[in-house]
Amino acid sequence: MTLKGRDIISFFDFSREEVEYLFRRADELESLRRGETLNVANGKIVAVIFFEPSTRTRLSFTMAVKRLGGDVLDFGEVQRTSVAKGETLADTIKMIDGYKVDLIVLRHPSEGASKLAAEFAEAPVINAGDGSREHPTQTLLDLYTIWREFKHIDNLNIGIMGDLKYGRTPSSLSYGLSLFSNVKIYYIAPEILQIREEVLEMVERKIRYEKIEKLQDAINELDVLYVTRIQKERLPNPEEYEKLKGLYTVTPSSLEGCKENLIVMHPLPRVTELSPEVDSTKHARYFQQAVNGMVIRAALIKEILGLEG
């Protein structure tokens, strides 16, 4: 199996075999978690081009490259540079690609921007977010966190809770889970924030699902509880927000009756939907999730660059 030279535009570019292969390769990078730096990417330069701010994703990619021993060419705040002068994305990409960088990591507000970039760049391109769609390494890190815990994803019961309608994570996680078999998703949300039909249409032949309003109705079934934030501006009025905020906050007591090995995930940053008391329970995995993100990105970059060791 080889991912060498591949553009990573959409999560759908991966097969299940490739995803699981990446998970195993990521597990081999255990030393990165101890703060070690490998020297496998010596002399390699990765261009990190972010046309909109996303500090966490950018840090994660930068750390991944540096931990592999490679160098990062960071384009800085693009808004303040060339785009302000009206440069097209195609021109920016051609210019960077002309430096013969080994890989381009791109975040851009236009949907489909990374596909366009891949058409103009000789170097492979990783989509780090374009517009409102999923970005493949986010889905990869969420699935990797689950896989790392259970060593499989088939047959698991996954609860996804919060703003399922407008949030980016619930839909992309659903698509990601649909690569596996016999997964059941519990969509836990008030009616007005329930998962969109178009998402269900895409996954319903591959997964089983149930829409429920209360976490209590499924807590004993869940292997994974993925909590997401409910945003105030998505709701008709502040009173509604205050009401839902309380109902959709996870605390140690809302986890009562759960399976022994339930894991709780969250994309971070959190606000009030996940109480800090959950941090000290054996179920919390959200801080590991961030580390897993760096490790799986490192594994992916290593494969795309075809690095040995």
Binding site: L89, A90, S110, E111, G112, A113, K115, L116, G131
Partner: protein
């Protein structure tokens, strides 16, 4: 490519040279003219003509005008029943029914304003993939936006 109905036998038309678009779904003729940017005076129209196969049809004759491949596809997107034939000396050749290809490149705009293909000056052609034929559903290759048959008309 296939032929239907009267397209098989030679048909006499009003224009001397040009293109005959027959079996147009009733009501679509004017839209076809608009999309093809047909010049006034070079067009002969027959609207709501009774027809055995599609009940009523519109017929468009274009004088001294021959359609490019992408224009034929646009006609087919507006009216899947349409047949296109070349006219010589007032006689129309065999009617060609246009098969909509699996990939539509530079044919229609993407309705998603955030799509990169709608970004000014970006050197990119729109590109769609057919994901369903009946009813027609196409997907933008850049932003994944799904466009339904009835929405296509205003994007040509």
């Amino acid at each position: 490519m296939s032929e239907i109905g009267e397209g098989r036998k030679p048909k006499t038309v009003k224009i001397d040279e040009g293109t005959l678009i027959d079996h147009v779904s009733a009501g679509k003729a004017l839209k076809i003219l608009k999309v093809l940017k047909a010049k006034e005076g070079a067009v002969i129209l027959a609207l709501n003509v009774p027809n055995e196969e599609i009940k009523v049809k519109d017929v468009v004759e274009l004088r001294k005008r021959y359609l490019k491949e992408e224009e034929k596809i646009k006609v087919a997107l507006l009216s899947p029943t349409a047949t296109i034939s070349t006219v010589k000396n007032h006689v129309a050749g065999p009617g060609e029914k246009i098969e909509i290809p699996n990939h539509l490149v530079d044919i229609l705009k993407c309705p998603n304003p955030k799509c990169i293909t709608n970004k000014e000056r970006e050197p990119v052609k729109t590109s769609f993939t057919v994901i369903n034929r009946k009813p027609l559903k196409i997907k933008c290759d850049y932003c994944d936006k799904i466009v339904k048959e009835e929405e296509i008309e205003k994007l040509l």
